[in-house]
């Protein structure tokens, strides 16, 4: 016993051969690795004050801007602008939040840490899932803040329990879809600076040329056609219908179809792009 202790102090445990890797299924490790990496990014949200600040402040700013500055001049017909606006801001904030996937991915790729992750026996996709997963958590926080603030400025929803569940399930799916698009942008950009603006070039037109803040009726014909048929409008109108009882039409199934379709296309594309970076 004493002798064993002596040997231990001599080798000083720089190397400890008692430590062995666990053996489990591939699927187990894909989930485990993704969770470990998502946990890392979630810790970033609470420890990086900039991120926390924008998660809380952005929705409040946009709310006040549209409700009190533009709101008075916008005619939303039968329904009050307070009630019209909430779904728009809610979806816009989810879309803006996805830009963090682009940014954080670009930062990881520019710095040495990505080399460490790539040299580990983990699935390459887990690295991307970790980023997107943390984005989902951040977006759900943002979503709750939007709803909270909206009540303060006079939001009167008619949604029941099932409507709220549908709203948050769709919000989660939409968040995943747009985060995977953002992941692709983060893998394509060559610098952190480019990552900062590229997301907005894609997301700004999508959020503003939609039914987020104004009814689409007054837009010129080509713009109106785009606004009425692009995915954000489907998601906004579906959520608006569940929140304040506007007609749902085809928006319900169309919004789910868009989100699932985008995820099916973007997940393999992003994984392929990330793997290709290794092969360069």
């Amino acid at each position: 016993m004493a002798r064993k202790a002596e040997v231990c102090t001599l080798t000083r445990h720089y190397v400890n051969n008692d430590v062995k890797a666990e053996s489990r299924s591939k699927l187990f490790w894909l989930i485990s690795d993704s969770w470990v990496l998502a946990k890392r990014s979630i810790k970033h949200i609470t420890r990086n004050l900039d991120q926390l600040f924008s998660v809380a402040l952005f929705p409040i700013m946009f709310f006040l801007l549209f409700r009190y500055v533009f709101g008075g001049a916008i005619d939303t017909g039968d329904i009050s602008y307070d009630n019209f606006l909430v779904a728009g801001i809610f979806v816009q904030m989810l879309a803006f939040g996805a830009n963090y996937t682009t940014m954080n991915l670009a930062i990881d790729l520019q710095r040495g840490i990505v080399n460490r992750f790539k040299s580990l026996p983990i699935s390459r996709t887990a690295f991307l899932i970790g980023h997107v997963g943390a984005d989902l958590v951040r977006n759900m926080m943002t979503g709750l803040i939007v709803i909270g603030v909206s009540f303060l400025v006079g939001f009167q929803p008619v949604a029941g329990v099932i409507d709220w569940i549908l709203i948050f399930v769709l919000a989660a799916l939409f968040s995943l879809a747009i985060s995977w698009i953002s992941a692709i942008l983060g893998l394509i950009v060559k610098s952190i600076e480019a990552a900062q603006w590229i997301g907005f070039i894609v997301i700004f037109p999508l959020t503003f040329v939609s039914s987020a803040f104004v009814p689409t009726d007054t837009m010129p014909e080509p713009l109106k056609f785009f606004a009425e048929n692009q995915p954000l409008t489907q998601v906004i109108e579906a959520i608006r219908a569940w929140m304040v009882g506007t007609p749902i039409g085809d928006y319900g199934w169309l919004s789910f179809a868009w989100c699932i379709g985008i995820i099916i296309v973007t997940v393999p594309t992003a994984s392929w792009l990330f793997k290709r970076q290794t092969i360069k």
């Binding site: 720089y14 190397v15 008692d18 430590v19 470990v36 810790k43 040495g112 080399n115 026996p121 290794t278």
Partner: protein
């Protein structure tokens, strides 16, 4: 009897032609980025439990070699094996055998030291119990216990490097790649790193490190490979390289330009280098007092006033001058700008 000898023979054939006892085995490794050839046919082996240093200036191909060995890059040609596993075909197996410490600390700034270790431990697939045990061991060994619950962004350069190496060791990989492990460290942190690397090797780890510093290679490595422009230009033990380069140089600084001119005529030593601007003369010494005395008396007789005398161990630059006839690119650029000095062989 004959059966047994047949089998022995078979075993020997197997071990010599297919399976080797080398931790790393590289044959004909080639890599280009677009049209630039970065590695132009590299061959070397690293015996298990030894240290090999890749010595060379920036752009020699050292980091690219490490990146290929650690499966971050694919080779264009050649065979690269780690413990007999191919880095292309068995990449995931290779990844479980290696630890990588890059030129820039690959740490998460917002996580604490402990969290960094735990995260990578889990990604190496260790059990939670093993992770906790290893984390405590390594924090203590690397003198980081006091900082273990602080975010890494508050760490000093030396602490980051130590944590970076600790993270690479969490799963006790048998093979470790260290890319310029002491670049940018203060002298004390550097000595600590050297000590850690030596202890690692004595506990059986195989180490491949890159460095621009002859002294570092000399201290740590069993074998040194000198690289330049994607090729190996020399290899051997540090003693063998020093024999090639000359063991030590004596450098004399003269007080004024006239005396300097005269001194260059007076001193008649082998491999004399002169630098007009800084008024320095240097030559290979055989280390004898006699030679020193002789040179000094020659200078004294000619009434030349000596400002300073010093001994220098051969540097990477000396190795390069001897092997290639020109200085390392980076050195030549910077010294050219600073002093306009020229060495004349």
């Amino acid at each position: 009897m004959s059966n047994k000898s047949k089998r022995d023979n078979g075993d020997r054939l197997l071990s010599s032609s297919v399976l080797t006892d080398n931790a790393v085995s590289i044959k004909g490794l080639k890599k280009s980025f677009k049209n630039v050839i970065v590695l132009d046919g590299i061959d070397f082996d690293i015996q298990k439990g030894t240290v090999l240093a890749l010595l060379g200036p920036n752009g020699a191909g050292k980091t690219t070699t490490i990146h290929i060995l650690s499966t971050l890059l694919l080779p264009d040609g050649g065979i690269v094996r780690i413990n007999n596993f191919d880095v292309v075909k068995d990449a995931n197996k290779v990844r479980s055998l290696i630890g990588l410490t890059g030129q820039y600390a690959a740490l998460d700034e917002y996580l604490t030291g402990r969290e960094n270790l735990q995260m990578i431990g889990r990604l190496y697939r260790l059990s939670h119990k093993d992770i906790d045990r290893r984390t405590d061991e390594l924090l203590e060994l690397f003198d980081l216990v006091h900082a273990s619950n602080r975010a890494v962004k508050t760490y000093s350069g030396g602490m980051r490097r130590r944590l970076d190496l600790a993270v690479s060791l969490i799963a006790s990989p048998p093979i470790l790649f260290l890319d310029e492990p002491t670049t940018g460290l203060d002298p004390q942190s550097r000595l600590i790193m050297w000590d850690i690397i030596k202890q690692l090797v004595s506990s059986g780890t195989t180490v491949l490190l890159t460095t621009q510093d002859m002294d570092e290679a000399d201290h740590l490595a069993n074998k040194i490979i000198v690289m330049n422009g994607g090729k190996i230009i020399a290899e051997g033990t540090s003693e063998e390289l020093k024999l090639l380069v000359g063991s030590e140089r004596l450098e004399i600084t003269i007080t004024n330009d006239d005396d300097f001119e005269q001194a260059t005529r007076v001193i008649n030593e082998e491999n004399l280098r002169t630098d007009k601007v800084s008024r320095k003369l240097s030559f290979v010494t055989k280390g004898g007092v006699h030679q020193l005395k002789q040179v000094l008396s020659q200078l004294d007789e000619a009434n030349i006033i000596v400002e300073n005398i010093s001994f220098h161990s051969p540097t990477l630059d000396d190795v390069f001058l001897t092997l290639t006839g020109h200085r390392t690119n980076t050195e030549a650029e910077s010294s050219g700008k600073e002093s306009g000095g020229m060495y004349i062989d």
